[in-house]
């Protein structure tokens, strides 16, 4: 039998292949992110310094809205033809199925973020390339945290009729510590501050969040999938 990681890769490959063929959630999430960026650009009439102070918050609001659209599909894409039953009935461990789905959602969300980041920089005149390495680190850590929690809730509510409404209600309160760190760290970078000293706390907070929720989700998923 394939190892757990091999199974996770097979599931991730399958999810990416089907998504890239249909482009259902990627098109919806990317267009949604771009529309929100345009609306925000009309909504705020701030001085440059004031805008820099809220720039990280704006970016992560857009990312978290788009993220909910991506992770919502993680398990609901298994509903047509009862494919989820086949996955659960297979000898593949639940954590491997979950990990594969989370990795696929992570990569899809990164793609949406990569599309919307230059647009954000252009609309709001933010020089986001100046600390690119640190920004990428924040994006990777925060996106993984969003994906892992979002995919876990996607599994919890997969059989709920109003799951598109339920997911944000469940997801955003849990994401508050992650969003605070991501917003704080990103704002600091856009204001020209390095992620050292006090600002490194944001990175520590993101790593802690990711570690705790990744372990929790991988442990709990078997109980969530088979009830």
């Amino acid at each position: 039998m394939k190892s757990g990681l091999g199974t996770a890769l097979a599931i991730a490959r399958k999810d990416l292949r089907t998504e890239l063929r249909t482009k259902e959630s990627i098109n919806a999430a990317a267009s949604f992110a771009l529309v929100i960026l345009v609306i925000f650009s009309f909504a705020f009439n701030l001085e440059r310094d004031e805008f820099y102070a809220i720039s990280g918050g704006l970016l992560w609001l857009v990312y978290s809205f788009a993220g909910a659209l991506i992770v919502n599909r993680a398990f609901s894409r298994e509903l047509p033809n009862d494919c989820l039953d086949v996955l659960i009935a297979s000898p593949a461990p639940g954590w491997a199925i979950f990990l594969g789905k989370a990795v696929a959602a992570f990569l899809l969300l990164l793609l949406v973020e990569a599309i919307s980041l230059p647009v954000f920089g252009l609309f709001y005149n933010i020089r986001w390339t100046e600390s690119l390495g640190s920004l990428v680190l924040i994006i990777l850590l925060a996106t993984w945290g969003m994906t892992i929690v979002g995919s876990a809730f996607s599994a919890v509510i997969v059989n709920v009729r109003l799951r598109e409404l339920m997911l944000p209600v469940l997801l955003y309160p849990i994401l508050i510590p992650l969003l605070i760190a991501a917003m704080g760290g990103t704002t600091a970078l856009f204001q020209g501050e390095p992620l050292t000293g006090e600002n490194f706390g944001y990175i520590r907070q993101l790593i802690g969040f990711d570690a705790v929720y990744t372990a929790l989700a991988l442990y709990m998923i078997e109980f969530i999938l088979v009830f």
């Binding site: 039998m1 394939k2 091999g6 199974t7 097979a10 399958k14 292949r17 089907t18 063929r21 249909t22 047509p80 033809n81 009862d82 494919c83 039953d85 086949v86 996955l87 659960i88 009935a89 297979s90 000898p91 593949a92 088979v226 009830f227």
Partner: protein, 226 residues
């Protein structure tokens, strides 16, 4: 020797007991027709045997792990946006098949889908999708087959493919448990019969001559009045 057994299994959905202490023992190599009216608990029992659901009370025993079980439920269990080959290779990988590509090609040949092996499942006709589902369920040559109303809404070609695969599986010593309303088709294949009524197995035993000649005999003799 037992292949799979349910021992006083209860399953509640909210306050409703779908199974009320159902017990069933299936010996290796048997083909059990699981009969019962709508809502009797056939699907719930099969899902529990297939590890898709946990019993609220009671115990399930199986002689093989998940890799030795094949399940065909109400849904066809294939991805519309993958090709027939991609679907079977994926399930082969998940089920631990040694050479998924080779097994997928053989399975597609067997169910008559080799010429459309690279076509997406969503472009297939209903009958072709059903045959793909049958190929998927038999791909890893399971020792125990759990089939939930397998003949329902199959076209004639898919029925022929399924019957041939089931006969081959039985000949090779596999165990089959299938729920069905199509009593005549099931009785031709079955070695044993179990009747579920309101979440309980009220009869389990070898198929008798009366059952073959008169499919409603079992309901009249052991079942509750309709």
């Amino acid at each position: 020797m037992l292949a799979v057994a349910a021992d006083r299994v209860w399953k509640y959905f909210g306050d409703y007991p779908a199974l009320r202490g159902a017990s069933l023992e299936v010996r290796k190599g048997a083909c059990v027709a699981l009969l019962g009216r709508n809502g009797a608990g056939k699907t719930t029992l099969l899902r529990i045997l297939a590890n898709l659901s946990r019993p609220t009370k009671g115990e399930i025993r199986a002689s093989v792990g998940k890799s030795g079980i094949g399940y065909l439920g109400h849904g066809i269990g294939v991805y519309d946006d993958l090709s027939a080959t991609e679907n079977l290779i994926l399930f082969g990988e998940l089920m631990g098949v040694a050479n998924p590509k080779k097994s997928a090609a053989e399975a597609l040949e067997r169910v008559g889908l080799a010429r459309v092996k690279d076509g997406l499942a969503r472009e297939f006709s209903r009958g072709m999708r059903q045959r793909l589902a049958v190929a998927r369920a038999f791909l890893h040559k399971p020792e125990i087959l759990l089939l939930d109303e397998p003949f329902t809404s199959l076209d004639d070609r898919a029925i022929a493919v399924l019957q041939s695969l089931l006969n081959d599986a039985l000949a090779s010593g596999a165990t089959i448990v299938m729920s069905t309303h199509q009593i005549r088709e099931a009785m031709e294949l079955a070695t044993d019969v179990a009747l579920l009524e309101r979440g309980k197995v009220v009869f389990a035993g070898p198929r008798a001559g009366e059952m073959l000649s008169d499919p409603t005999w079992l309901y009249r003799t052991y079942g509750e009045p309709a």
